[in-house]
Symmetry: C2
């Protein structure tokens, strides 16, 4: 690994801890001269393989985790409001991000991804609806027709499918999941360890 | 709640993150003038209700979590060695702790609990064996005959069963699980939030 290898950031758009991570990961990387590759994934597909379920769907844990989402957001000073619809399908959001990267470049794709996360976890927008994704894109100056068609491209759908398979092949089973210099970290609560690794070159 | 109410610390003896928590929770409490009530629980019984499984038993997550145990121990500077037998039944350890509290007082019960955790996660002792628990007690000067019999007392077995039920009634679904001033925290990675609550009186 070279000192400048990128940080791989895997996230599902319906993951609150993934959203929290999305608000800080680029600054974290920049503090250590690194860049971030954003990889939207579909936890639904991954859970089918691992036999896991979304944490909100377990008894006891479900109630706790809703409380933890809001409390952790306050603790880390991140804007957050509980979405009305949750969990929800994130194919449209993930495909839009992949299309934006291909058509408009990584920087605008990340801007779109951040805006989608914020729409869900701050403005309570139903991001499972392609029409809502198009609106979010339009507010960023992304051509609505191009985005609407782009999300539907078979090559983009295939890219997402392949991306999820590649993620699982690297061990990804949750969101956020970060791989840097051969070390894998699951959860926003491991970001202090990621920072230590970037700082010290080992952990 | 008064400013001096105790911190409830729920833990299963086969939980590595519970072990990590056990190495710091009394000092954390003492920094803020609090005491800790240690409550051994049985996650096996709780998982039956919640439909969860030990994290090491899920595909992908299992491999990750073993790595995370060792890495988190290093990060927090806590001695740790991977146990040969894991997960394992923890009834004997939990009952010994409850008996010690009744017969010898809270302080010696906590000393015994810490020694049992260390035996499993540092010295690779099979703490599912009552004979090993008796040996651990003997090294602390606890009468072997009394401990051996104490663990078998129907009233102690009943106390553990009731304790697990009461824990679940309070929402406990994992280990470590800490309740303080009406706030519940699951996981060693929420200890910074517990400290913030103790420091600021709110979170």
């Amino acid at each position: 690994m070279t000192a400048t290898s990128a940080i791989d950031f895997y996230f599902d758009f319906s993951s609150p801890y993934g959203y929290f991570a999305s608000t800080v990961i680029d600054q974290l990387a920049a503090r250590h001269g690194r860049s971030v590759q954003w990889h939207p994934i579909l936890l639904g597909a991954i859970f089918k393989t691992t036999g896991m379920q979304p944490p909100v769907q377990y008894p006891l844990k479900g109630d706790y985790i809703w409380h933890d989402f809001a409390r952790s957001a306050r603790f880390h000073d991140i804007p957050y409001r509980r979405p009305s619809r949750f969990p929800l399908p994130t194919q449209a959001a993930a495909r839009a991000t992949l299309w934006a990267r291909e058509a408009l470049g990584s920087e605008r794709a990340v801007t779109l991804a951040r805006a989608i996360y914020r729409a869900l976890f701050v403005d309570d927008v139903d991001i499972s609806e392609p029409a809502e994704i198009v609106k979010i894109g339009a507010a960023l100056g992304i051509d609505s027709g191009a985005l609407e068609q782009g999300m539907q491209q078979p090559s983009i759908k295939e890219q997402l499918k392949t991306g999820v398979e590649q993620a699982m092949a690297r061990g990804v089973f949750g969101s956020p999941y970060v791989i840097v210099d051969g070390e894998s970290f699951w959860g926003f609560d491991r970001f202090a360890q990621i920072e230590a690794l970037l700082q010290n070159g080992k952990i």
